[in-house]
């Protein structure tokens, strides 16, 4: 299983991720992403998550293989 993660030290709140995959990302009062902690449970969502990762101008998103809890 895998999860979407954001590196908060890189993110500056462009917000593309929340547009691309609102199922996994919402934004807070200041436009920064709140990323779902749950496992990505469908191929369709995983595809969208990968697109969000590739689109992020700050390269702040990553998909973490959740073999262990961080």
């Amino acid at each position: 299983m895998s999860r979407l993660r954001v590196n908060p030290t890189l993110c500056t709140g462009y917000g593309y991720c929340a547009e691309i995959v609102p199922e996994l990302v919402s934004v807070d009062d200041w436009g920064y992403p709140i990323v779902s902690r749950s496992d990505i449970d469908s191929d369709e969502l995983l595809k969208l998550a990968r697109r969000a990762v590739a689109t992020c101008p700050r390269l702040a998103l990553l998909i973490e293989e959740s073999t262990r809890d961080a």
Binding site: P8, T9, D29, W30, Y32, L62, E64
Partner: protein
Amino acid sequence: MTPAIGVRLLAGPRGWESLTEHQKRLGRRPQGTGHLIDVLRDSGLRGRGGAWFPTWRKWSAVRESSDGHAVVVVNGHEGEPLSAKDRVLLQMRPHLVLDGAALAAEALGASQVVVYLSRSSKETDQAVRRAVEERRVLEEPPVGVERTAHRYVAGESSAVVSRASGSQSKPRFTLVRMAEKGVDDRPTLVQNAETLAHVAMIARHGPAWFRQLGTEASPGTTLMTLTGNVKRPGVYEVDLRATVGAVVRETGGTVSPPAGALLGGYFGSWFAPAALDALPLDVDVLRSRHGAAFGCGILAVLPQGGCAIVEATRILAYLAAESAGQCGPCVNGLAALAETMGRVSSSSAELGDIENVMRWVDMVKGRGACHHPDGAVGQLHSALCVFKEHLHAHLIGRACRGAKTAGFPQPPAPGDGWK
């Protein structure tokens, strides 16, 4: 239950203890081997930096990754403004801490020891350097001293690793454990100074001796900093079986009837006056029964007439200013909370202020590279919950005399620079 004050780490002479005195009093330390990890497991020692993580587990992760070039970092930074325990320990018993560091280095296959200190305490720096100098005659891995700016988050372990690798003392976001890749990408143990002093005692006397004091889940003694409304503020070594009430009584009691207390420092939890006497120090009981953390052992008692809402807001404002400025939720969230709580605290809240505060407390939690935002909002949230009625008085605009009462020692001015 008496708290058994000052019987282990702080036993012996007052003030700095030389290597000769130290070895005469306690004997030479044994050699550090892999077996020491089992001894630490049996002792139940947990980290005294604030998280109370089992020490042996941290050590065994480093040992697994170590190829003989691991790094041991003694964390004596103590960025928490209300805490003085690591400073006092390093000034009085540097050799106990350095014994623990050498034991760790030998047991984990480390070729380097770094003592990490805040630039704010010259006395600590001098005490440690003098002790390091004395130990040159011993066959031990070399010990260096690394100093950094006094910032609240600079003692967070990923910030320690960053600084010890030559960069700024700001927390890092990483998915790789520092036990595998820490300082200069080498396997790294970052351990609080007090924890290493306990290691030095356990290596000499064994796990059964360590467990003679404390509880099953929180064995041994611990250093506490008592501050605020107490007759004799300072650092005390106490039995973890004791209650807050017993500690306060044994150390001279309070000046005025307490209006409440903050346990665990700026990331800690608030308690109403009635809850203090029977409150245990056992960290698991604190967590399960009170949702509170003992943190790095601070008890700050609020004086009669003091106000937890005012005090919690001061602390929050300081922590907001002390954000490393790297993560949006921490920068924006803590700033918004500080501004809004400023109005609540001065009894001039606007419509929707407290609702926003409660929403933001949830919103920022768990979203920084480190736990700075979590600790900051946790402290605030506990004050708002425990002193609900008092909060209500603030919200309806009733003037609070707590704003004019000297509560805890004021937070220092926010730090400057990150190196």
